[in-house]
Symmetry: C2
Subunit: 636 residues, 2 copies
């Protein structure tokens, strides 16, 4: 099968330009000019370089393409339409609420691996896609198209180092240097040398070309394919709005479609005039050579051996995390782990020791770690990136996009809360539950001991979509046995009696404070119900409502987290229609350095604080008619 002529590719680029202009004009919004600067690059990639099957875009060994400059979505859609993935006229549904051709690409479309549109994320995903090829022993290649403006995002330079460290010669990125950002000229305008110098300094093979010269593009792509031991960056000098005189290389046209009618017709006529008649048949896209499927996933919850911890044994959940990771890795080779240079704190080093080929080091670059995990997850791996929980917040925007992408990323955050002690506030995650609960389809798990950690890790591996496992620095006693079962949306009632006056809902480290408060109050003749809400999201609504009704509608929540968006808010919403009182015990000021126990007490989440809150509620209920009596319950 002969490669298409440059004439044929130029005509295809023109078709992509026409469709980008038509679809954005029809939608009345979008970014035609950013599509036109990259049309020649995309035409060359799709019709003369990449191996893929338009009717099976998720073929495990197909070359990957990530449009990091996600606002170029109309160009991406036009390319897949031209390749035959869907009828060309469908591009006219761009941005309609009834269409998956959204303003920026999301994996609602079968040919999109990761959602883009938050700039500067695509290359991190590309690193993950390239590492995945190595993981499955495939020779597929990964291509990432970046804008020059988004190159200012630091995440690109994190990815640059990681790709160099892993010698990813199966990764090729292209920077579309059209010289214009959204609101002004970019920092480097059309000075492609500024980009070449930076990428070379970061260890990449860098090539500067004219991004509108099809021959030059093909030559650079071939040079990238021939490069061994390092990734390639093609720096392409282009013109924003190329081919349409109304806005070609003009500022002030970012994110502005042409008016329907005369303006659009003139632009399309101009573009059509650029088409060179040819009798050449449409190019045939080469399919991947072979197909190797990884098969169905096992049920990790049944496959994981029973935890070996003994009751009362002191073990930090972060240690149990490392052990569970190794056990999961033994069950299926799709389990992989990533680290940002804290593997000896999170104990992910145990996994590195057992499976060095499935352990990816990004050094101190959390955005790259999470972005790489996103790429891996999009190709069937089950990645567990872990760090101090507070440093995962460095990748907050990546986590947001992983949620939009509905990716199977399993984040683990250790050293959560003030319980870490002397290292001080900069090392204490007190917002991580809010961050992860803010991902609509995320499961948030929070084990308190070794047994629940192993069980919840298996649950995390078996649960599709983003999962967060919150783990703790200090050692805690094992309270569960191998017969205990843990499910998403479940909880454990650790203490209960018929006389319980208040329900105390705890999770993780505060479970042990709640148990201590139970003992203390028992000596005073006050009985409380103690619940371990190990599943923060989804939360055990039925269990919480039942417990609240059994305890005068009085609930106290206690969490080693700020009061916003964590356990307390989750419990309160679960019982919203019950007329309960829900007292939230949480950290409410910037904490200090100090001993763990002292900090838990100083910030009001200790056994003492719980007991005080319970006494206050009990006193209140005694001084008046109970807050809630079954007789007058709204739903009864």
């Amino acid at each position: 099968m002969p490669a298409p002529s440059t004439t044929a590719l130029r005509n295809l680029a023109t078709q992509l330009r026409i469709d980008s202009v038509r679809s954005t004009s029809e939608a009345g919004s979008g970014h035609p000019t950013t599509c036109l600067s990259a049309a020649d690059i995309v035409a060359a990639l799709f019709f003369a370089e990449m191996r893929f099957d338009p009717h099976d875009p998720q073929h495990p060994e197909a070359d990957r393409f990530v449009l990091s400059k996600g606002h170029g979505a109309p160009l991406l859609y036009a390319a897949w339409a031209a390749a035959g993935a869907f009828p060309r006229e469908d591009v006219m549904n761009l941005r309609k609420i009834t269409s998956d051709l959204e303003g920026h690409p999301t994996p609602r479309l079968p040919f999109v691996d990761v959602a883009t549109g938050s700039l500067g994320q695509g290359l991190c995903a590309g690193v993950g896609l390239a590492l995945n090829a190595r993981r499955i022993g495939s020779d597929y290649r990964t291509y990432v198209l970046l804008g020059d403006g988004e190159s200012a995002e630091g995440a690109n330079w994190e990815a640059a180092n990681v790709a160099t460290f892993h010698k990813l010669d199966n990764l090729c990125a292209i920077t579309d240097v059209n010289g214009f950002g959204q609101s002004r000229a970019t920092q480097f305008d059309h000075h492609v040398d500024e980009f070449v110098r930076r990428w070379e300094a970061f260890g990449w093979h860098a090539i500067a070309i004219d991004g509108h010269d099809i021959g030059a593009i093909l030559k650079a792509l071939a040079a990238a394919r021939a490069t061994h031991g390092r990734p390639t960056m093609i720096v392409a000098h282009t013109l924003k709005g190329k081919g349409v005189s109304i806005f070609e290389n003009k500022d002030g046209w970012h994110g502005k479609p042409l008016k329907k009618g005369a303006e659009t017709d003139q632009a399309i006529a101009e573009l059509e005039r650029a088409t060179v008649p040819t009798s050449e048949p449409a190019p045939v896209i080469p399919k991947p050579a072979r197909r190797q499927d990884e098969g169905a996933l096992p049920d990790f919850t049944t496959a994981l051996p029973a935890p070996a911890y003994k009751a009362g044994e002191m073990v930090a959940t972060r240690e149990a995390y490392g052990a569970a990771l190794v056990a999961l890795g033994a069950i299926d080779r799709r389990i992989v782990a990533l680290d940002a240079d804290v593997k000896n704190s999170t104990y992910s080093e145990k996994f590195e020791k057992a499976y060095p080929d499935r352990f990816y080091q990004t050094f101190i670059a959390e955005q790259a770690m999470i972005g790489t995990a996103m790429g891996l997850a999009s190709r069937g791996a089950i990645p567990f990136p872990s760090s101090f929980a507070c440093f995962l917040e460095r990748g907050s925007d990546f986590i947001r996009m992983a949620g939009i992408s509905m990716l199977n990323v399993k984040l683990a955050g250790s050293h959560a809360g003030v319980s870490i002690g002397e290292d001080g506030p900069s090392q204490m995650a007190l917002e991580d539950l809010a961050m992860m609960r803010g991902v609509p389809n995320a499961t948030v798990l929070y084990p308190c001991d070794g047994v629940s950690t192993e069980r919840l890790m298996a649950l995390a591996a078996s649960t599709s979509g983003p999962v967060y496992v919150r783990i703790t620095r200090p050692k805690t006693p094992v309270i569960y046995t191998t017969s205990d079962r843990f499910v998403a949306g479940g909880s454990k009632t650790l203490r209960q009696s018929n006389d319980d006056a208040v329900t105390v809902v705890a999770a993780g480290i505060t479970v042990f404070e709640a148990l201590r408060a139970h003992e203390q109050l028992q000596r005073e003749g006050i009985a409380i119900r103690v619940i371990d809400a190990y599943s923060i999201q989804p939360i055990d609504q039925a269990g919480l409502v039942a417990a609240g009704r059994a305890t005068n509608g009085c609930i106290v929540t206690v969490e080693d987290h700020y009061a916003h968006g964590g356990l307390g808010d989750g419990v309160a919403e679960a019982v919203w229609d019950q007329g309960f009182v829900v007292r939230r015990l949480a950290v409410r000021e910037i904490p200090r350095s100090g001993p763990s126990e002292e900090l838990l007490d100083r910030y009001g989440i200790s056994a003492r604080a719980i007991a005080d809150a319970v006494r206050a509620l009990v006193a209140r209920t005694h001084n008046q008619e109970v807050v809630m009596s079954p007789g007058r319950h709204p739903n009864s």
Copy 2:
């Protein structure tokens, strides 16, 4: 006054090493090895380079020092003690809950400008400190000490570009290349050339030196001072744990103090042997040449001219934001603005036009934008960094550290929520309220019209500490008049009657949905109270409790945000002890691209959705005894 001899400086470096070892051994935790690698650099900076007054560390024209590698805190404390800021023996209080000498530096200490300890943030702050010198016309210089490990954080490379763009030759950074990270050797080990190549490529003057050669350090610092038009990076080859044979240049010693007793004594004895006897007097630190104070701040809330908007006029709050920013800038020159290339969407371009010398462009680098604002705020400026609200999440970890630093940063996030329409989920902030409410001392404001935007912007400028202003893309009608007053912790009751069955709490764009729902329900004979909760944090607790009590304990909240950590959770906690029912209307799935109005309705936060929720609550209250009757109110 003669400069101290290299012998005197070496002895001072030894003293800093001794104090770093003593204090961490006493604390039983901390990072002595990272202190020892940088001791010579810090001794040279503090006692032969910087101009400052140890007794007035906040002198407006004193040179600045940022310890980006915050785990080197004991070294920083030892240096300030040696300079005379506090008694040397106080370093033995390191990490005690009673001391401000925390595990990582925070501005609880008068000589710390920004909290560090989340690695890779110090250089961004340094850019802000250097820009501030230009702002006040001072020749003070800014020094930032980075670790080699943290150089992997992308934020450093964002700062590198911003510093080059602004030609910050008053900024000098030093990278302490000791070759070891926390869990392993760094990516580049001791290859200083890898760093030199990168910094030169980013436009910096880079110098490689032996970081233990005092003469070489002084020479490099002099070369930095003599460099014009670009910042300087000194790349220092060092040994982790330098001077103590137990751990000098050995892996596995990160974050581990020596054992008290024999081990520590041996180390200190070794270090003391390195001291060279000299009769030279202690060096005198040169004070800043002049002192120029900016004076007390005006009350922006009274100084701001009355808003000129007419009732019913259609104006987007983001347009009003730009106008208010200009008005504030006219009142005091400490008002500055920062942009990450969306100034034409946030309308901060209005400020750039009026005050180009107080407008700082970082291009598409939100971490650098927020970090730069942190540096500026620490020196008396009142920075307003703004972007799309969702892209501020890129700087989530910087915002966390700004909170720990209690800095006067005024963030504004535009294009919040699904109301932006066709651009799709990647551009919609639905977690930003949770992120900002998670900063304990942050004020969170959410105007719904032009008048409230101007008033709340003045409130933001006059409120100390972090403030967030959430603004909206679509135009909304002006509903407030110049006589309306807005205060932190306030709210506005827009509709009320004696027969109100339910209280509807809205903010921003949803205020208008609530008003439409009011009309709709009125036609059905159902009266509702409508509250504009423009102050999300602090929230109007008294007002909400009163409204709830007046409306059968039934509250409906409606927000263009996910259900976690936003308005609904804030309202629910404010009324936690009332036994109310609080129905939260919020976005609960990943939204799609589509028309704004259709999205508000599809995701359940439209007038129709509010009316449905109200009808359901009314039906319930009619079917049974009211949920809340004043007679049995807990607090009554």
